[in-house]
Symmetry: C2
Subunit: 129 residues, 2 copies
């Protein structure tokens, strides 16, 4: 694969860009994580979301433990070439490690962040299959 | 305003967090930019998206020049407390400085990033009103 498209991305000082995952049908924003060049290349090659885990300092094939992979439907880049947007099919309907559909389950209300979206599956049962 | 909710956000080493703006009706992801603590506080107070411009190193009241403000409908925080999601009403229907609805107008196709969304308004007419 010609890698010019990877060079066009403006990687930050750590070699990363933010990558937003959005449900390709509902439009729900599921999560945002980070990609390095290899992660983005593999995401396109394997047609599934592959991130760079900053905490674990390694590639993170989303769903590798949970089975909740994100099948890629569309890959977009923003006008500044420094943010990725993926439209994905979220397998299992759960993107968040808390067992919720989306990681953005807390809403600001009356001066507080309030969790408003339901836990669909016990996280223990997701990761100890 | 009690500021505990601002302290709960995990600001990065530069005191920033990514903030995603999504159209509250269509679900379209419009842009991603950055907020510092003051920007987030003002966003909640003024009920419009206010970012921190890293290039200009100052608060950026989205739409201050173009009139294309983003009226806040909902403010969310993710499970790691380090990404903001806003549902907004995009005034003028244009979020991008190129005159497009969304900044994510380029799609990865056949090894290239290809602009696929239309320019709705000449950028010169947006900024030289």
């Amino acid at each position: 694969m010609n890698e010019k498209w990877l060079e066009q991305v403006k990687w930050d000082e750590n070699g990363l860009v933010p990558a937003i995952a959005q449900d390709y049908q509902s439009g729900k924003v599921l999560m945002m994580a980070w990609m390095n060049k290899e992660a983005l290349k593999l995401t396109a090659q394997e047609q599934r979301a592959i991130y760079w885990s900053r905490s674990r300092a390694k590639l993170w094939r989303k769903g590798e433990e949970s089975g909740h992979i994100q099948a890629l439907h569309e890959l977009r880049l923003d006008c500044d070439n420094d943010v990725i947007l993926m439209k994905v099919e979220q397998k299992g309907g759960i993107a968040c490690h808390t067992g919720r559909e989306s990681c953005f389950y807390s809403v600001f209300s009356e001066g507080e962040w309030k969790p408003v979206d339901p836990v669909l599956k016990d996280p223990n049962s997701i990761y100890n299959k």
